[in-house]
């Protein structure tokens, strides 16, 4: 079973792999559980239990739709998420903040589960704006200067549960679109190609943003793309396991303006 345990420093957790009932005492559940454990379901053959936040569960939904995860081999444990803190590893100064992607959360519990655990979080500590779908900061972000800071380490790709391609066009090894050795990243190629690949798939879990060593607001970028997908096609990734994913649609259901 895959869950979270306390990390090696304060205010951190880390993925933990539990193999015996005694080891379940290691498991924790709190606002530092920012990694998306759906990543560890990829390529796994044995049946496995996984702890999933709301967004992680939505990632699993998308992975099931894309035939990357076999539902019958995953036991989903879905506790209510308190909302996670922004970039727990980046440190920095000032009080911890609720991650910006949690402010536009589509639901704290996984849409699919085998065991749902309703956790009543202390309202004092509870994340403020959860569910506020208007929490986008389009005007506030100067994307050109944000992208200048990219060091192209590709941690955004490696941390993303929806990135499972064995050959990635963006890692620069194919020498076609994007060179690994062009810093700052080609504009708009690197980040925009990735954003387009996230369209209709990204569940705004923020794993990329939490992994980014220079703290780029990547989830925000993908959420912009997905806002358009929702507007045009009425599809929100991961919400409904029955809904047809845009990639499977014979034709757009909405009017394309």
């Amino acid at each position: 079973m895959i869950g979270y345990e306390d990390g090696s420093t304060s205010h951190r957790t880390r993925p933990c792999f539990v193999r015996s009932p005694e080891d379940t005492t290691r498991l924790v559940w709190n606002q530092y559980c920012s990694a998306n454990l759906a990543k560890y379901l990829l390529g796994r053959k044995e049946t496995v239990g996984v702890v999933a936040k709301g967004c992680d569960g939505r990632s699993i939904v998308e992975l099931i739709k894309e035939n990357q995860v076999d539902r019958s081999k995953v036991v989903i444990i879905a506790p209510t998420c308190p909302g996670v803190v922004q970039n727990p590893g980046l440190g920095g100064e000032g009080p911890e903040q609720l991650a910006s992607y949690c402010e536009r959360c589509r639901g704290r519990n996984s849409p699919i589960f085998d065991f749902e655990i309703a956790v009543r979080w202390d309202p004092e500590k509870e994340s403020g704006g959860v569910g506020d779908k208007t929490a986008y900061h389009r005007e506030a972000i100067d994307w050109a200067s944000e992208f200048q800071r990219c060091i192209k380490c590709l941690a955004c790709i490696k941390s993303c549960p929806l990135c499972y391609c064995t050959e990635c066009e963006l890692d620069g090894s194919l020498q076609s679109l994007v060179s690994k050795l062009r810093i700052p990243a080609e504009l708009p190629t690197f980040h925009l190609v990735r954003a387009m690949h996230m369209a209709g798939r990204c569940t705004d879990c923020g794993a990329c943003e939490a992994a980014c060593p220079v703290g780029l607001p990547l989830a925000e970028l993908y959420s912009q793309v997905n806002k358009e997908v929702e507007r045009l096609l009425g599809y929100v990734p991961g919400l409904d396991i029955q809904a047809t994913a845009p990639i499977e649609l014979p034709k757009p259901r909405g009017e394309v303006e």
Partner: protein, 336 residues
């Protein structure tokens, strides 16, 4: 050499002087964290920083650099355009400065890397003793801090109202002489304060790990099954090596437009599944666990055996920035 003293005001003037010549690289605030940058205005400099996200090694090994350009038709090869300006790297923490000594052994020995050496010779390292170690710091394990870095040309240590300044190399002494108007001899009181603060800060670092005998024991651990479990949560993102002050591995690529081509090299990571794959598809490190343990063995066993220096300086960047909290200190404790 007797220690000197520079007051906060004099330092501000020195910073202004160096930055007006475009010769200063120092830590600046970047969002919630800090980065080393070329200073345009003195007030950008932030010497109260704890650590930068990207280590100052980028002044010696830029993330991407041109090796040469060439004409595809004629085959003519041209060296890259380069400045010969001198640079002052101000505010380098002891761990990062000690990392320069590691790079010096690897890039600057018998087979000196000309690109590295050219930059190295031009740079004066002005070290800055730590005043506030972070939870992830463990320089005490390697003797790479927290007061002196082995790559310092000259070291600044914060005391009341200014800094106690000690020259370490001929380059550092030259720097102090060239800017002598900003320095004066430190008083006994200032030296005493420097000594008592140094003791306090050293006492704050108690990681409880040691590097003694580590290289040898680590070297024998290759087949140990513990690596399998330790690597399980690693997602192979490579952030650890991108933020590491001693990682020096690079990749080389060509960019050709029309008839003119350029060859570049840039940081690469052994955590990438392509790093060790050779032409024809042979890969000596085909699995995640192979790559995972390679990073630890390279730092704590191979480099120490080949160059007689530990390739970890305890800066803690990989610990704090790893998205899945892989902690090199746990590997060290296990094998120390």
């Amino acid at each position: 050499m007797k220690p000197n003293y520079i007051s906060e005001d004099s330092l501000a003037r020195l910073v202004e002087e160096l930055s007006s010549k475009g010769q200063l690289v120092a830590p600046v605030r970047e969002g919630r964290s800090f980065e080393f940058a070329r200073i345009k205005r003195g007030e950008q400099v932030c010497l109260t920083y704890t650590t930068s996200t990207i280590p100052p090694k980028s002044a010696l090994l830029p993330q991407v650099e041109e090796l040469f350009s060439y004409d595809v038709k004629s085959g003519e090869v041209r060296p890259p355009e380069e400045g010969d300006e001198r640079l002052v790297l101000l505010g380098v923490r002891p761990c990062d400065s000690s990392a320069f000594s590691v790079l010096d052994r690897v890039m600057g020995r018998d087979r000196a890397d000309p690109y590295y050496m050219r930059r190295r010779d031009r740079i004066t390292v002005v070290g800055l003793s730590c005043s506030q170690p972070r939870e992830t710091c463990f320089c005490d394990a390697f003797g790479t801090g927290p007061i002196d870095g082995s790559g310092d040309d000259i070291t600044f240590t914060k005391v009341n109202g200014g800094y106690v300044v000690r020259s370490k190399t001929a380059k550092g002494a030259r720097f102090a002489r060239a800017h002598s108007k900003h320095f004066r001899a430190a008083t006994k009181k200032e030296v005493d304060e420097f000594e008592s603060r140094s003791r306090e800060i050293k006492a704050m670092l108690a990681s409880g790990i040691t590097s003694e005998g580590l290289a040898d024991r680590m070297g024998k651990s290759l087949e140990d099954p513990c690596w399998e479990e330790a690597s399980e949560r690693c997602i192979e993102c490579g952030v650890c090596s991108f933020v590491c002050p001693t990682c020096y591995c690079f990749d080389v690529t060509e960019q050709v437009e029309g008839d003119s081509g350029k060859r570049y090299r840039g940081w690469d990571t052994c955590q990438s599944c392509r790093f060790s794959r050779m032409a024809g598809g042979l890969d000596p490190r085909p699995t995640k666990v192979d790559r995972f343990k390679h990073r630890f063995h390279h730092k704590l066993s191979y480099v120490p055996m080949a160059f007689n220096v530990m390739a970890c300086v305890g800066c803690g960047r990989c610990v704090s920035l790893c998205p899945t909290n892989v902690d090199i200190r746990e590997a060290i404790s296990k094998w120390q």
